[in-house]
Subunit: 368 residues, 2 copies
Amino acid sequence: MDMSERIIVTYQVAAAPAEIAARAEALAIEQSVECPLAAVTEQQIRDEIVGRVEAIAPIGETRFSVRVSLASATAPAEPGQLLNMLFGNSSIQPDVTLADVELPPAYPAAFGGPKLGISGLRAKLGAPRRALTGSALKPQGLAPEALAGLAHRLALGGVDLIKDDHGIADQAFSPFAARVPAVARAMREACAVRGAAMLYAPHVSGSLDDMRRQLDIVRREGLSVVMLMPMIVGLANFHLIAKEAEGLIVLAHPSLAGAQRIAPDLLLGKLFRLLGADATIFPHYGGRFAYTPETCRALADAARRDWHDLKPCLPVPAGGIAIDRIKELLAFYGTDVMLLIGGSLLAAGEQLTEHAARFTAEVASHGQ
Amino acid sequence: MDMSERIIVTYQVAAAPAEIAARAEALAIEQSVECPLAAVTEQQIRDEIVGRVEAIAPIGETRFSVRVSLASATAPAEPGQLLNMLFGNSSIQPDVTLADVELPPAYPAAFGGPKLGISGLRAKLGAPRRALTGSALKPQGLAPEALAGLAHRLALGGVDLIKDDHGIADQAFSPFAARVPAVARAMREACAVRGAAMLYAPHVSGSLDDMRRQLDIVRREGLSVVMLMPMIVGLANFHLIAKEAEGLIVLAHPSLAGAQRIAPDLLLGKLFRLLGADATIFPHYGGRFAYTPETCRALADAARRDWHDLKPCLPVPAGGIAIDRIKELLAFYGTDVMLLIGGSLLAAGEQLTEHAARFTAEVASHGQ
């Protein structure tokens, strides 16, 4: 990595106009040397390692956008350390939000981003253009065969991707080693019936050791997708599993990520993509979560737009979407999207396959 | 684990009085089955797995304390999954804060808590009663020999524990494999001069693989302490390293932890202790961070009070404390505490050892 270049970090800071210059300076120090300048005696460290306030711009009467540059030497290409330098200590200061990051090209080159991305997922599904559909297996508490039954009925309705609910991990009522083969078998049968490729994404979780054991089972079953929660498993472990999951689509789940005072488009869009997410799940506005249309737009843009040489990452809006909103969502996101409808489909009970078929048909017909 | 018992989670929820009952019910569903009740057809899952609202109590005009019970079967003793069930999705809902958790005894028994705790650290230092002292090596950018020089001079002043700054990881200017042996050597020399045990805590970071490689170096150097950032490395990996670091004191750093809408006493006190932190660093009020005295008091209580059979965890207030506040801090925390003074000591330049000696002498003399 070329360590001479600087990372440009944008924070939003609440401060009185008379205090913002000093506050910005303190922030630049907190996220670099983290000590009084009097304790920094080496000229080279003062010149190169200490964070630098590059710009301050008002965005409200007592709110400012502050651009700070950090030496890339302080944050080598290790995902946890990058986040540590971007927001580790200042996350404890309630007047600061992490808004955006511009990285020197050495980072995307080192981290690699999605290995398959939107086009890789489309290739696996044989669906080059239309919007994609997804659903989730739940409630937790069900045994493997019951979850496999749900997967089978959703797949018969043509749902492209069926994932474990993120609450389903490795519990006694549905151990990973029993659930994944059972659901995989049910999916193979449904694919044979429909003559189409539909994919199952098991939720891989726990320590890095746990995740590697689970990944072995995923490979043994010949599956094509895994889902992980980057903020719970740790960014470095997420990145490592994404690298080791050669040939698999990596789906990122936002669990705990909403808790950060980090802009959702930056964290769930840009950073998860940087670290290898082929697709990123997030709550669409108007569901059970409080994201705004602007947040959803910015997040989808961050996931898909040209950025260094990284493949685009598929936006997967979710979180309480019902079937009657499909047209609205496709108008909002276009077709490079996967609509994830879980609970409201599952509530159809005996009509599950029929509702799933209506969902997939409506998505397929859009814009044709 | 006995899975019949329930976890009691306390949330704080902002809602109008007319809406709180429905909001609490939705929260209990979000953190358990995460789907409409219509999709939960099995009676056993409705009875046992669906989260239950146990109590709602007003704590303000539009703010309520909501107690929800969750089935422990949904969160086996895997730290990431426990956090996922406590706050995964609801972390994305801005009206909810995670305030407290009461766990069935099977969790403390499975997780184990601190292996050495306060008494183990005191035994290593030969300091059975007095308050303890700590400092940090910084700024980052210094080479191993320069950091070793700082450690040597701080240790000559009698500082009990000297840790890497949390910004110091495995950078080119000070690689872990070069820094740790250099600082360890400097510490051994200073210990020999003073005839006292003083400890160095290297910052262990990165993926689980990275941390294990670093732990090998720590063991090879015969060191007694490691520092980790649980919220960045992932709770499951933190817990695993704490278990594998047999005989070592585990020091938890709050990086990124302040970003959570999780009560600091719960996260940095109770949960980090549960997962094996022998000592927990947090910002003391009146420094560069916005914690209140009440937050600091609650955090220190959560770390130290009787809780199941877990060893107490040492509170380590830090974050911009200067030497002139020692009396105040010791009056506030008592003697089962380590005062961590970094930057304001390091600013002493040529007088570093003298300032460190004044710091340690003042702490040692307190209450004698």
